[in-house]
C-alpha cells in the first residue's frame, strides 16, 4: 500500500514539476531572448516579470473559446489533450536523481524516478511517436487550409526526424548495454583521472557526435527554430493551431514547452550523465540534492541552447529541412553507430 | 492467471472483425486498415502462444510481421495516392482495371 502511495506521490510531483517547468521556461526564454536583443523582456508582473507566464495563463483561461463552424468537433477537442498527454508521458521514466530517503523521512530509500522499466527508452520513443497525433489531428480537424498545411508539414517532419532521433541514441545503447534509463545513467558514474566525468559525451569519441545529432533532431521534433516550420508564423500564420484559442491553444503551447524540457532531460540522461557530477550521490544525506541540482543545471543549460538558437538563426525551408534530415542527419547517425561499434570492439580486444 | 483461450478468443474476434470489415466497406483505405487489424489479431495469438508454450520465437515472428506491415503500408499507400490522382476516388467497386 505504501508503495502505491509513493508512486502516486511521485507521479504527482513529476507532473506538477513538468507543468511548473512551463511557466519557468516561458519566462526564461523571454528573458534570455530579450537580453540577447538588448531589451529587458517582461518586467511588470512580479520581480523581473517572473509571474508574467501565470498572468498569461490566467488571461488565456478567460478568453473566448472559439470553435470554428466547420471544425470536426470531437477531434478538435481531442487534439490538444493528446498533444499535452504525450508530452508529459516522457517524464515517467527519467531518473532525476540518486536514491534517497529524503533526509531520513523514509525508512527505505526510494529512487527519484517514477518507474524504472527495462524498456525505458522505448517508452520515451513511443511518447514522441504519439506526439505527432496531436498536431496532425489539430490541423485536420480545424478544417482550414493553413492548419492543414502546417499539419502536413509537421507529419513529414516528425516522421523523418524521429528516425535519426532513434538512431542517434543507438550508440549510447551500445555503450550502456541497456534500455533502462537508470542503468544508462549509472553507466556514466565516476570520473576519469579524478576530474573528467565519465559522461557518454566524454566516454567515446563518437559520444559528442551522437549528442549533437540527438539534439538537432530533438529541436526538429519539438518544432522549434530553426525547424519551426509547422507553426512558422510568417508563412502559415500559426500553423496547426491557427484556429485554436483560449485554453486549447494554451495546451498546445504548454505541450511545446514540456516537449522542450523533455528533450533536454532525455539528452541530459543519455549523454550528459543524468544527475552524475562532482559531489552528486554518495553516502552523504545531501548527496541527492547535489545530484538533483546537477540534473536541473544540465537541463537548463540545454534549454538555454534552445533559446539561443531561436534568437540567432533564420528558418529553413520545408524541402531544405527534409533534405537536411535525410541527406545529412540520417547518414551521419548511421556513421556514428558504425564508429561506435568499431570503438567498442577495439576497447574489448 | 488468464487462460490462453481468452487471448485466442480476442485474437479470433479481431481477425473476424477484420474479415467482415473487408466485405463490408468499399473505400480502399478502410479495407487496408481492416487488413492491418487482421494482422494484429494474428499477432496477438502468436504472442499469447509464445508466452504459454513458452517459446520466444512467437515474438520474433510478430517482430517480422510488424516489419512487413510497415513495408506493405508504404507501398500500399503509395499505390493509393497514385490511384487517387488517376481516378479521383478510392472506391474498390469502381477500381476494375484488371477486369479487362
Amino acid at each position: 500500500m505504501i508503495e502505491l502511495l509513493i508512486i502516486a506521490v511521485k507521479c504527482l510531483v513529476v507532473f506538477t514539476a513538468a507543468l511548473l517547468g512551463v511557466p519557468f521556461m516561458v519566462w526564461f526564454e523571454r528573458k534570455v531572448v530579450a537580453h540577447m536583443q538588448m531589451r529587458l523582456g517582461p518586467m511588470y508582473v512580479g520581480p523581473h516579470g517572473v509571474l508574467q507566464p501565470f498572468a498569461d495563463a490566467i488571461k488565456l483561461m478567460f478568453k473566448e473559446d472559439f470553435l470554428p463552424p466547420q471544425a470536426n468537433k470531437v477531434v478538435y477537442y481531442l487534439a490538444p489533450v493528446l498533444g499535452m498527454t504525450t508530452a508529459v508521458l516522457a517524464f515517467s521514466v527519467i531518473p532525476f536523481g540518486p536514491q534517497t530517503n529524503l533526509f531520513g523521512l523514509l525508512k527505505e530509500p526510494i529512487p527519484l524516478q517514477v518507474t524504472d522499466l527495462n524498456i525505458g527508452l522505448l517508452i520515451i520513443f513511443s511518447a514522441t511517436a504519439m506526439g505527432v497525433y496531436g498536431i496532425v489531428l489539430a490541423g485536420w480537424s480545424s478544417n482550414s487550409k493553413y492548419p492543414l498545411l502546417g499539419a502536413l508539414r509537421s507529419t513529414a517532419q516528425m516522421a523523418s526526424y524521429e528516425l535519426s532521433l532513434g538512431l542517434s541514441t543507438v550508440s549510447i545503447l551500445m555503450l550502456a548495454g541497456s534500455l533502462s534509463l537508470n542503468e544508462i545513467v549509472n553507466a556514466q558514474a565516476g570520473l576519469y583521472w579524478g576530474f573528467i566525468p565519465r559522461w557518454f559525451v566524454f566516454q567515446s569519441p563518437t559520444g559528442f557526435a551522437a549528442f549533437l545529432l540527438y539534439f538537432i533532431c530533438g529541436v526538429a521534433e519539438t518544432n522549434r527554430a530553426p525547424f519551426d516550420l509547422p507553426e512558422a508564423e510568417t508563412e502559415l500564420v500559426a500553423g496547426f493551431h491557427t484556429e485554436y484559442s483560449s485554453m486549447k491553444f494554451a495546451m498546445f503551447f504548454m505541450a511545446e514547452y514540456v516537449n522542450m524540457i523533455a528533450v533536454s532531460a532525455i539528452a541530459t540522461t543519455l549523454f550528459l550523465g543524468g544527475w552524475h557530477g562532482w559531489g552528486a550521490g554518495g553516502d552523504t544525506s545531501y548527496g541527492w540534492v547535489i545530484g538533483l541540482g546537477w540534473f536541473v543545471a544540465k537541463v537548463i543549460s540545454l534549454l538555454f541552447v534552445y533559446v539561443w538558437l531561436r534568437a540567432t538563426l533564420p528558418r529553413l525551408r520545408y524541402d531544405q529541412l527534409m533534405a537536411f534530415g535525410w541527406k545529412f542527419l540520417f547518414p551521419a547517425s548511421l556513421v556514428t553507430i558504425l564508429a561506435t561499434a568499431l570503438w567498442i570492439s577495439r576497447q574489448v580486444s | 492467471m488468464i487462460p490462453l483461450s481468452w487471448y485466442l478468443v480476442v485474437s479470433a474476434v479481431l481477425f473476424t472483425i477484420g474479415v467482415v470489415g473487408i466485405f463490408f466497406r468499399r473505400d480502399l483505405i478502410t479495407l487496408f486498415m481492416c487488413i492491418e487489424l487482421q494482422l494484429n489479431g494474428v499477432n496477438l495469438a502468436l504472442i499469447a502462444f509464445s508466452r504459454y508454450l513458452p517459446d520466444i520465437s512467437g515474438q520474433i515472428i510478430v517482430f517480422f510481421v510488424i516489419t512487413v506491415a510497415a513495408a506493405e503500408a508504404a507501398v500500399g499507400l503509395a499505390i493509393m495516392i497514385a490511384l487517387f490522382h488517376h481516378k479521383e476516388h478510392l472506391d474498390s467497386e469502381r477500381v476494375n482495371l484488371m477486369q479487362g
Partner: protein, 163 residues
C-alpha cells in the same frame, strides 16, 4: 487485477475494431484503429512482451497509422456517400464468413487443450529477443531489410510525379 486489465484491454480492442468498420469517416476509422492498437499493446504487456508492446506503439501507432492519416489528409477523403446501398452483394458473404469464424472460435473455446496452461517465464527481456533475432533468425532479419529497401524504392517510384 490482471483479469480486470485484461478485460479492459480486450473489450477496448474489440469495441474499437467494431467501431472502426462502422465509421464512415476514414479519419475516425483510423483513430479507432489506433485505439485498438493501444489496447493490443496493453495485452502484450500483460503477456510479458513489453518490447513488442513498445514496438507496436512506435511502429504501428506512431508510424504506420500516421502514414494512413497523412494519406487521408493529403487526398482529403470524405465520408462515403450515404445514398449508395452498402454492397448487398457481399453482405451474405460477410455474415457467412463471420459466422464460420465464430463457430470455429466456439470450438476452440470448448475443447482447447491449452486451456489454463501455466505461464512461462515472467517477462522476455530485449536481450533475449536480440540474441534470438541475430542467431537463429539472422537470415529472415537481413531479408526483411531488403524487403524494406524494396518497399522504399517502390513507394518513391509510385508517388513521385516525374522520374
Amino acid at each position: 487485477m490482471t483479469t480486470v486489465f485484461f478485460l479492459i484491454f480486450a473489450l477496448t480492442a474489440i469495441g474499437a475494431a467494431v467501431a472502426m468498420i462502422f465509421q464512415r469517416n476514414p479519419v475516425y476509422s483510423c483513430l479507432c484503429l489506433v485505439l485498438a492498437f493501444f489496447a493490443l499493446a496493453g495485452l502484450y504487456v500483460l503477456l510479458g512482451a513489453p518490447f513488442i508492446a513498445a514496438i507496436q506503439i512506435i511502429v504501428y501507432a506512431g508510424a504506420i497509422m500516421v502514414l494512413f492519416l497523412f494519406v487521408i489528409m493529403l487526398l482529403n477523403l470524405s465520408a462515403e456517400e450515404r445514398e449508395r446501398p452498402k454492397r448487398p452483394r457481399f453482405l451474405p458473404f460477410a455474415v457467412a464468413v463471420g459466422g464460420l469464424l465464430l463457430l470455429e472460435l466456439a470450438l476452440v473455446f470448448r475443447r482447447a487443450p491449452l486451456l489454463g496452461m501455466p505461464a512461462g517465464q515472467s517477462e522476455t527481456s530485449v536481450e533475449e529477443i536480440g540474441l534470438k533475432l541475430f542467431t537463429d533468425y539472422i537470415y529472415p532479419f537481413e531479408l526483411s531489410s531488403v524487403l524494406i529497401l524494396a518497399a522504399i524504392i517502390g513507394a518513391v517510384m509510385l508517388a513521385k510525379r516525374k522520374i
